[in-house]
């Protein structure tokens, strides 16, 4: 079992509807996620109203929002100016077949929607490139994190050691009970407690980030477990598939 201590204290700015990574903001990128006050998923009957309310507070034009369809795979897309607004309200218009978005364009908000899966925020300060990742267990197994970091390196010359990484709210090793087969999917990463098995999504991703070359001091963990803190966040495991969705958004200023 891997134990990695991160600087989790005081890295978030708290608002009534959202949390924002302070370290990203100081370096020129907005990186934040909302709480369960607003359901921002495509299934919400108030999708337009809620997204507008959340994003306008952040100074983001809600019509510019770019989302992806998140089929829990390992594919990544590069977002350009012409993609602005794809997935702002229509799932059919969201970027297809991918679970991560990368851009070097300023003022394009990239978002993923989650309820237990891990949202990962990536920001390369020197090259001014941002990425957002929807990292569920299947996407992690399909190397969505590595694929995103390597795409940033190959297309934009971003070195992993230049990356700031934020870990948003997700179901954690304390609550994420899994079946026996997960031992095969993630050898050595499944925790055993009282005869039950648990997956530590955060630990797995931390290990991957450090292996890739991201500097430990540049990784900031929100520390929130969506299941433990279900009164604050939506949880697929706790509430079932009809749970609302949290939005994690990153934008270069």
């Amino acid at each position: 079992m891997r134990i990695i201590m991160l600087a989790t204290q005081n890295n978030l700015i708290k608002n009534i509807n959202y949390y924002q990574f302070k370290n990203f903001l100081e370096c020129g990128a907005l990186a934040c996620f909302n709480n369960r006050n607003l359901d921002l998923g495509f299934g919400s009957s108030k999708i337009e109203e809620n997204r507008k309310e959340f994003l306008s507070t952040l100074g983001i034009n809600h019509k510019d929002l770019v989302c992806c369809q998140q089929p829990h795979g390992g594919k990544v897309a590069i977002v350009e100016e012409s993609d602005k607004g794809k997935g702002a309200y229509s799932f059919a218009k969201a970027i297809a077949e991918c679970d991560a978005l990368v851009t070097n364009c300023k003022n394009i908000p990239l978002a993923v929607l989650t309820a237990d899966c891990l949202p990962l925020f990536l920001f390369a300060r020197k090259k001014s490139v941002s990425a957002i990742i929807h990292a569920g267990w299947r996407g992690i197994k399909e190397n969505i994190l590595e694929n995103t970091v390597f795409l940033m390196r190959d297309k934009f010359g971003v070195y992993p050691q230049d990356l700031l990484v934020g870990l948003g709210p997700a179901i954690r090793g304390c609550c994420y009970e899994v079946k026996e087969e997960f031992k095969d999917y993630f050898p050595g990463e499944v925790l055993e407690r009282n005869g039950r098995l648990y997956l530590d999504l955060i630990g797995i991703n931390l290990g991957k980030l450090l292996n890739i070359g991201v500097i430990k001091e540049n990784i900031f963990d929100s520390g929130f477990c969506t299941a433990c803190l279900n009164e604050k966040f939506f949880s697929f495991r706790k509430e079932g598939p009809a749970a609302g969705r949290l939005m994690s958004v990153i934008m270069l200023r």
Partner: protein, 77 residues
């Protein structure tokens, strides 16, 4: 009020996938659900077609069963 309805078509791959179990898990989240065996050359694949108000939830459910691919999404008029 801003509710869109989508038609969704995709493949679901897993060698141990159970067609009936997949269909049952989708019943509360879609209509006109069709789950067909589309296996080719020993590769177990289901072809799933349905209409839904929440395609993201359909993917979240189906991803628990297998790999999703060959996605087609359209808004229903």
């Amino acid at each position: 009020m801003f509710i869109k309805r989508y038609s969704l078509e995709f493949d679901l791959n897993n060698k141990e996938i159970n067609q009936e179990e997949v269909k049952k898990s989708l019943l509360d989240f879609g209509e006109n659900i069709n789950v067909a065996d589309n296996s080719v050359n020993g590769q177990k694949t289901l072809k799933i077609c349905l209409e839904t108000l929440d395609p993201a939830t359909i993917f979240d459910i189906c991803a628990q069963f297998g790999r999703i691919g060959c996605i087609k999404v359209n808004e229903v008029e």
